[in-house]
């Protein structure tokens, strides 16, 4: 089960992921990100505090936007991942390409 809450803040938009991202619902995550890109959002903050699990399909969504975001100068910062989920990003090497912070304050600083 995955719940996505998108909230627009003054200078960034926050996506809160609640639950698990797997092959069955990674499309929802993708749609949420596409919607933001279409709205010309330049700063995206992903709140992972309540993300319990992410499968390779979920990682694939984040991965697919890395180059795209670099070209369009969109910054994406993930914060608040629990140890287990962060480990998944780490093993794959995604932590080196995506800005991942431990808390929201640090994440906002990155924008």
């Amino acid at each position: 089960m995955l719940k996505i809450e998108t909230s627009k803040k003054s200078n960034y938009t926050e996506i809160k992921l609640i639950g698990e991202v797997d092959a069955s619902n990674s499309v929802e995550l993708d749609e949420a990100i596409v919607a933001l890109v279409e709205n010309d959002t330049k700063n995206i903050l992903v709140d992972g505090t309540q993300l319990e699990y992410i499968s390779s399909a979920g990682l694939g969504v984040f991965m697919s936007y890395i180059e795209d975001f670099n070209d369009k100068k969109i910054s994406l910062v993930i914060f608040g991942l629990n140890e287990k989920v962060f480990h998944v990003f780490q093993i794959l090497g995604l932590d080196q390409l995506i800005n991942i912070k431990s808390n929201k304050e640090d994440a906002v600083m990155e924008l």
Binding site: D22, A23, D30, E52, Y53, S55, S56, A57, L59, G60, V61, M63, S64, I66, E67, K84, V88, I91, L92, G93, L94, Q96, L97
Partner: protein
Amino acid sequence: MFKLPNLNIGKISLLVAIMTWLSLLFVDITRLFGKLNQMDSDTAPEISYILEIIFFIVVYVYFNHSINNSKKNNFIDLIWRAAITGIVATVISIFISIFYYSLGESRLASDPLLRNVFYHIDFGFATVFLVSCTLLWKHLILYQKTKKVVQQWQAFEVGLLISMFFVFFNNNTLDYSFLFGLSVLVLFGASLAVNLKWIPYLTFKEKWKSILFMLLIQFSAAYLFIQILTYSQGNTLYLNLTDNLFLLSLFAFVFIYAVFSFLVTLFNLPTSSVFEQKLVEAINFQRLSQSIKPGENENQVLDILMDSCMSAAYVDAAWLELKINEDDCKVIHQRYVTNSERKDLQNLINSTRPFSEFSWQEKNNDSKILSGKIQDLKYKSVTITPLVINKQTVGRVILLKEVKDGFNKEMMNIISTFVGQACISVENYRLLNEALKNERYKEELLIAQRVQRSLLPSTLHHDETFEIHGFSEAADEVGGDYYETQILGDNEFAVIIGDVSGKGTSAAFNMSQMKGIFHSLVQLNPTPKEFLIKANKALSHCLEKNHFITTAYYIINTKERKIHYSRAGHCPTLHYDSTSESCEYLSIDGMGLGILRNQLYEKYVYEKELFLNKNDILVLFTDGIVEAKNENSEEFGYERLKKVLCKFHHLSAEEIQQKIIDQVYEFIGLSTLPDDDYSILVIKFIK
């Protein structure tokens, strides 16, 4: 053994009936002759009575048999049969009267012997008519019988049987006991005569026929009754056969039932069209529910639906719109209206309330009929019924009538029932087709499964210094896990394990690409790092944007007893060090393949080497193993895996692999299904 010949009851009873009648005639004539000539050879009247009873019974048996065996059992045939017997009996009787009338005052006209012969003929035919008619009535009365009616009828038959023997008590005179018996049977007969359930099932035309035949029967019965009364009134000389309780009761019964049927049929005439309509609706309903058979299509159901709706509501024009896409519909099954007329009407309807409120998108259009009037010269009232299949409005039926307020509640109810049934039929048809298609897909998947299984090696390359054992299981029919080995040269082996992102069919295709890349690159004998860089480059052109592959590549040199390895986003390898007797994950950075599809990738891969001793173990696995969850959503995890290896390091590679899988299955429990692919490769140095 004595064998009963196959008796033909019909023929025998007919023969016996004629014989009995002839003997009755003979006995009566002889008696009359003796009486006239004052001879003393008077035969007892009881003999005649007995013969009369036998005649009754045999005629009864004959007709019972003949009606039961008759093929034609519809109501009109039965009534026609009764009517024709009545007409024959009446015509014969009329001929006899005419014959006497033509004789005038001649001697022959007053001859009692001749008159007695004709009396017997009249009696015989009247009996035949009454008995056959009674038995035909029996069929009509017992139509849609209940137990009560059957019992009533049986009691009536017993009463009639008793009435035959009544003649021995009163010698066929009309005394009080006779009148009492007669009134009992007449009342009984009348009470049976209310069973007229067959009448509504006649069509309008059949009802008219029935009325005519019933009139003929009434006339015949009345005429024969009067004729027989005149015989017995002017008679003193010969034996009275006809003032018989049985016979007179039958007269009454036949006449009463004919009158009842006549009247009820007559009053049923105006409503018969309603009943016919209901019957047609029931049949249409059945056609709708059974209409889609293999080889037919939805169009036929909709065709039947249109006919059914039109006949149910006496519609003057109609068409059916089917939705093709969001804002376009196609008109099919157009009835009694031209294309241009229909287009005008469509525009008019769509701009008239309440029809303008119709929404194709609405979810609860089910059984929501719109009905109202339009400002048109010809058509005054309209209904629109949506066709809802699987909560989607797929079409609508438009019915028009020339009268104002032409659609009443009953019509709309029946239309909505028809439409509902048609939708169910179409839905069932679609489901069936889908099921067939799914069945094909399943077969295709089985083939894919077989092909993919064959992509995983059945034997793994090794030499006498190490054991290697692999295991792989997919969560779906096909999976995205991959492992393989290859001989690079003397004492050198390449080992690869990989995991494609996602799962199922898409993962399986990418896995086969990975296999191709492995076999191509391994020929070049690259270092692990080179292998990953080249593989990443190759995959950059093959993988979809959001797909990646994690892999780990090893070169085992058994002579130098060392391995070179690189990791590309794959789960770290578990290593059991026999010298320190400890288990650790090999730490090395490395990014997954397909994540960074340019030259920068090189910066994110590394290579390490490791010397191995005897009894050292390497466990290569995919994330399915460590991410396997139990019912509390707890993961199997890296720590548990480590503990299993520490515990079973003394076993062979195959046994260790088995233990790990057993532990994983035990951990997730029977209730949860694996939701990822599991693969594991155990390498143990035995020298």
